[in-house]
């Protein structure tokens, strides 16, 4: 089933905002979430795990409503990019452990997919020498 049917437009918008705040775009030489279609890739990866897609939707909507818990009186997608960044910074600096850990989880979710991309690995210099890709080839994978 195409991903568009599994994830509605609204959920996609939330995911795009979340991804873009975690890894902001910066063009071809300094790519970020939008530059490499991170949301699509994340959905694809989530689809491989049991309960991956429903879990991802749940995460997206939990983040969408989370500002209300902290008296922001706005949904996440209703905030401007600057306000969203400020909101995530408040999560990062919070002494409340759960808040900080949920941000770490969100980072892990998108960064795991983003930095798994061979093009990104090359950009950051990971695929030189005897690394995973070279060995992958050595043992017969594409």
């Amino acid at each position: 089933m195409p991903l568009e049917k599994l994830v509605g437009e609204r959920t996609r918008k939330i995911l795009e905002d979340l991804a873009e705040r975690m890894i902001p775009s910066g063009g071809l030489d300094y790519p970020g979430a939008r530059d490499m279609g991170l949301v699509d890739k994340t959905l694809e990866v989530a689809g491989k795990f049991p309960f991956g897609l429903p879990g991802l939707k749940l995460v997206a909507w939990a983040w969408e409503f989370s500002p209300l818990l902290y008296f922001k009186f706005r949904l996440l997608t209703q905030m401007s990019p600057k306000q969203q960044t400020a909101y995530f910074t408040s999560c990062e600096n919070s002494r409340f452990m759960v808040r900080r850990y949920t941000l770490v989880g969100l980072k892990a979710l998108f960064m795991a997919v983003f930095y798994n991309d061979p093009a990104i690995c090359k950009k950051i210099g990971f695929c030189e020498g005897s690394c995973y890709e070279t060995h992958g080839k050595a043992v017969g994978h594409e």
Partner: protein
């Protein structure tokens, strides 16, 4: 009607994978081993070579360089339990990845081989009355294991700049340090991804040495076979029951049943107690699943002006044991970008900036010898739930561990040091290190990881406060042996693989001499 496959006890040894089994499976052997990691593989090989018929069941699949997963995400999905997302619940929550493959966690660990420290063995004798484990008595077992797994110090060829830099810093400060010993041969190219399995088979996990040796000696190894119940009759083990799983989906396809005289349970520190609990066994002391130790670990990263290329070379190639008396051991750790990025501080532009200098990042780990006692309980649908609440003493050790690692990085020339502390995400000078030591940590301030679960079926000389006797046989059920890290009564202070192997070897000798010699 389902076809029932019966394999005679006399059939040749082989490895049978889940997809090769087309119906219900009935097996019988003198010894059944659950788990193919450091404990199970050793027990299987030792007993098979002594002439006993052995069946080994392993929940994971068989992976080697011919079918190595194609990318990092696949490695996690296929070789790790819960895709690597096993977590100890508590404050802070501590991720604890565990392997699920032929070879168990040895397939995805760093391969460090360190003997149980003499003082730990003496402490076990003194405090828990465990006889026969004097350093001199254990020496032959360690030597035997080391020979089998090709244990040798990491050579400078694959040491990597990350480890070299840390050693340079430690030497400048006069700290005791050196290369680690690990289980690798000449095929190890230092590709830096030991924790994703080994694409070159250079790391000698048990599926490359002990399991093939067991199979050559006649053992039959079933992959994708999950043990679900231990069967007991008149206080003595009778066999196990379980399911053959679909290798792709992990869903049960067929049932299996193994009839045996003796069971060696080596499902790991987390799953062994849960299997015993599910079967309603071995908990007369009330200690089953308790006494969990995990060696909580912290990663301290650093940014250098020059390129380090930490991904080249063995990630865990060096140690600093200067602080062992304080309960702290520093060991190398460097991971692929997908794991580095979330562990670095910040998000957005600041995190991306750091990641685009990935080549300049170095990283080292610190593990602490924990006093905290966690526990493993049975959760919904029989899955284990791990509870672990870090105690104050361990938090003090964690504070010191971060400070020592940061001090060494700064001595090595790092410009910025990244801790996993919420209120001090980076350190730039020794003054800040001292500030950290003065202020200390609270449990909720840190992010930790753990890799060495131990102690949930602890052995001891008295049945009132232990689950197993000093050779690993449960006090409550005859011929039911535990041969994994759950046996250890305290934490080791070193990576546990070699200790698990040596103790499994010792148990196998005991089983052969005292339990099965008449047959």
């Amino acid at each position: 009607m389902r076809r029932t496959e019966r394999l005679s006890a006399m059939s040749d040894g082989k490895i049978i994978q889940g997809f090769e089994i087309s119906g219900e499976l009935q097996e019988s052997a003198e010894v059944c081993v659950i788990g193919s990691g450091a404990g199970g593989a050793v027990a299987a090989r030792e007993l098979a070579e002594k002439g006993h018929s052995v069946v080994l069941v392993e929940e994971g699949s068989k992976w080697d360089k011919s079918n190595y997963p194609k990318n990092v995400a696949d490695c996690f999905r296929k070789m790790y339990r819960n895709s690597g997302a096993t977590v100890c619940l508590g404050r802070p929550p501590i991720p604890m990845p565990i392997g699920k493959a032929l070879g168990g966690t040895t397939k995805i660990n760093s391969g460090t081989c360190l003997r149980t420290p003499d003082k730990v063995l003496r402490r076990w004798r003194r405090e828990f009355g465990i006889e026969g484990i004097e350093p001199e008595q254990m020496k032959p077992y360690f030597a035997r294991v080391e020979k089998m797994v090709d244990a040798a110090p990491v050579s400078s060829r694959v040491m990597g700049r990350n480890n070299e830099m840390f050693l340079e810093g430690a030497k400048k400060l006069g700290y005791s340090c050196g290369p680690l010993i690990r289980n690798a041969d000449a095929n190890c190219h230092g590709c830096g991804i030991c924790t994703l399995g080994c694409p070159s088979d250079g790391k000698r996990s048990t599926d490359l040495n002990y399991i093939p040796a067991a199979v050559s000696a006649g053992a039959r190894v079933y992959c994708n076979a999950r043990a679900e119940k231990i069967l007991v009759k008149d206080g003595c083990v009778e066999g196990i029951a379980g399911s053959i799983l679909d290798p792709e989906t992990g869903k049960p396809r067929h049932n299996f049943h193994v009839k045996c005289k003796l069971l060696a349970l080596a499902a790991g520190t987390i799953h062994s107690p849960v299997l015993l609990k599910k079967s309603g066994l071995a908990n007369s002391s009330g200690w089953l699943g308790k006494n969990l130790r995990i060696h909580p670990g912290i990663r301290v990263s650093a940014l250098f002006d020059q390129e380090i290329c930490g991904y080249l070379g063995v990630p865990q190639a060096a140690f600093v044991d200067e602080f062992a008396d304080e309960g702290i051991m520093l060991e190398g750790v460097f991971v692929v970008p997908i794991l580095t990025a979330p562990m670095l501080p910040y998000f957005g532009e600041k995190n991306k900036e750091l990641m685009f200098r990935y080549k300049n990042i170095a990283s080292f780990g610190a593990m602490i010898f924990d006093e905290t006692r966690g526990r493993v309980v049975q959760g919904f649908s029989g899955r284990p739930v791990i509870l672990y609440q870090l105690c104050k003493e361990d938090l003090k050790k964690a504070t010191k561990a971060i400070a020592y690692a940061a001090e060494i990085w700064l001595a090595a020339g790092a410009k910025r040091v990244f801790t996993a502390i919420s209120w001090m995400p980076e350190l730039n000078s020794i003054r800040e290190v001292r500030l950290l030591l003065q202020r200390g940590l609270k449990a909720s301030d840190t992010e930790m990881m753990a890799f060495h679960p131990m102690g949930t079926c602890r052995m001891g000389a008295e049945r009132l406060n232990s689950v197993c006797d000093p050779y690993g046989e449960t006090w409550d059920v005859r011929n039911l042996f535990v041969t994994d890290g759950s046996l250890f009564p305290t934490c080791l202070g070193v990576n546990p693989m070699e200790s698990i192997m040596a103790f499994a070897n010792r148990s196998a000798d005991y089983i052969h001499q005292m339990k099965l010699s008449s047959s």
